[in-house]
Point group: C2
Chain length 402, copies 2
Amino acid sequence: MPAINENFLKLEKNYLFINIAKKVNAFTAANPDAKLIRMGIGDVTLPLAPVVVDAMKKGADEMGVKETFKGYEDSGAGYDFLREAVSDYYKSFGADVSADEIRINDGAKSDCGNIVDIFGDDNIILVTDPAYPVYVDSNKMSGRTIIYADSNEENGFAAMPDESVHADIIYLCSPNNPTGSVYTAEQLKVWIDYAKKNDAVIIYDAAYEAFITDPDVPRSIFCIEGAKECAIEMCSLSKTAGFTGVRCGYTVVPNALKVTASDGTEVSLAQIWGRRQGSKFNGVSYPVQCAAAAVFTEEGQKQIHENIAYYQENARIISDTMTKVGVKFTGGVNSPYIWFKCPKNMGSWEFFDMMLEKIAVVGTPGEGFGKNGEGWFRLTAFGDRDNTIEAMKRFEKLVSEL
Amino acid sequence: MPAINENFLKLEKNYLFINIAKKVNAFTAANPDAKLIRMGIGDVTLPLAPVVVDAMKKGADEMGVKETFKGYEDSGAGYDFLREAVSDYYKSFGADVSADEIRINDGAKSDCGNIVDIFGDDNIILVTDPAYPVYVDSNKMSGRTIIYADSNEENGFAAMPDESVHADIIYLCSPNNPTGSVYTAEQLKVWIDYAKKNDAVIIYDAAYEAFITDPDVPRSIFCIEGAKECAIEMCSLSKTAGFTGVRCGYTVVPNALKVTASDGTEVSLAQIWGRRQGSKFNGVSYPVQCAAAAVFTEEGQKQIHENIAYYQENARIISDTMTKVGVKFTGGVNSPYIWFKCPKNMGSWEFFDMMLEKIAVVGTPGEGFGKNGEGWFRLTAFGDRDNTIEAMKRFEKLVSEL
């Protein structure tokens, strides 16, 4: 048999959420009557906005008529109508991103995982810890060296660069998954300066930008001067507009991002990324792109912000409970995540098991996101209101009796 | 700046179809009144079947209602309703493929390009030449050694293995893109025996299986004994049901496919592939999966076969013209492609330019698919009937005047 890519054997055996699913399945099999409340995986629960559904159906209808049928997209980078809508959206919060710097994708996870293909395997990868597991796993699959910047209680779970350490590729996520922390404009500027000093590229995950309410917190790294010479940004409609099951996002590779190859050739990263996608991707479903474009209309923005406000109120309910029972946390504002310290110095998985067994609430153990997550725990505000209130009642009782 | 993956610099500068698009754009700019007929890129032209559109709209409606809203898929491998429909479809033509061996994807190109990730870079890759460029490019991007098996006029453009040559991974495509040739059951058995002797894995592209009319030509490599121990198959609804702009396909990695790692561990390829997809893919849009499932219903099969019959009639019209003007060709039956020898020993691009300039018909130069394509040319039967007839009239006149 052909040799496999043995880097796969060095990965953690189970993807975090698969592990959780197994434990939950075992619990529900043993306790079929338990009223389980899921606050673990960051999935949304509110339906798509009406304008989004209408646009998708209109797109589907067009596909059923010869004159308006759409086959392959010419470029596979997304229809102009959507790329322009995303460009205008960026401009609305002060980031100058042109339509030709945007590629539409089937969700941020795909591009976030696949972007590694365009870089050499000898690069040093810097990941803030804790982090979304895809940053680590996608690089481990290529056998790369990964170093970590600690996000912890001391720095409010917002790691800053260590000037004595060199990195070539830097993953940042703000608002952060899992910790809910955000970078201010000043902090992002420090990262950009560090990247420039190291000739590094920042891969910036902005998937939760729509939850930012504080006007001082940047919605995009491209709100900060100098970012276009050193950063790639990924964003998604999954959390912005409930697209977790629709699958659409976008990646920005600025035209100014150039790399010099070993033979001295100047290479545009956007061009290589386009070449990669040209061979291994064929664009996003047309009706899905129609649905995505509807998100950026005036009525679309109004409707999706009603959903976001609903989740933000859930986040407030969870945060208030944490404050009331004296549990330390980050997030809850500018973010759908609440990241808290497990009471009584319990371990993350220990607390996970206890919550599942005693109050039938599912969360995400912090250590699944890295070593600095040990003893911490993530809850999401994406649940249904009644369930969120009920879960917090149970949580309050549980913690007060510990 | 970080080191890029310099294998990208070794790729042909332009992807074949981008090159064609540029030439066509230049032509239409210079000849705005020319009645251009496109028979180049293998894109369909008939609209989606009504049952498919209805199913997609129903799926969209479900996404707009809280009780039926779908977020992330648990596995990302596709909903059971679709995986089971695909499994039943396989069984209908004698291939025993179970639902848990099938992963739903956003089109065969993505999986065909991404599958390379699970194999080591030292493997020897065997590609039949001419071939779909993705097989070559996706492996060149990983810096792999590629060897070729010649498909040519002598063997009817259906390369067979050279027993004196070793390969680890073998790409086969039947019905073939670009040559329209097909492998018989006996020929596939020879390839399977060769793969087993070499401990190789066959990556089998069955994207055009729906065009097979000859009952002796296998619709899947899994119709042949022994294939489940050595083959992965990719298929797509792009040509089967006009999904080029909808984006849905499926990959079969049999449970029996095991590889021994260097430390002696037995590894399931399906499991590693699932791990890869678990980190770099998040499943296919729910309404798209609903649309795909409709293809496999009784009414869906009836409706899509009306479209396939339409394209088959186009293929007959093109084939008859080739026969009439005495141009040698393969394909045209069991395939939507007609692969012909350029008259007067012209080169592929030379003939491309001439067809474009003189009769405003766009085709695909054979040499874009590999060295054995030099002097050959691909036309597709996916056009509109009137255009196909008109193009063949122009073609007949052009060739008879050469």
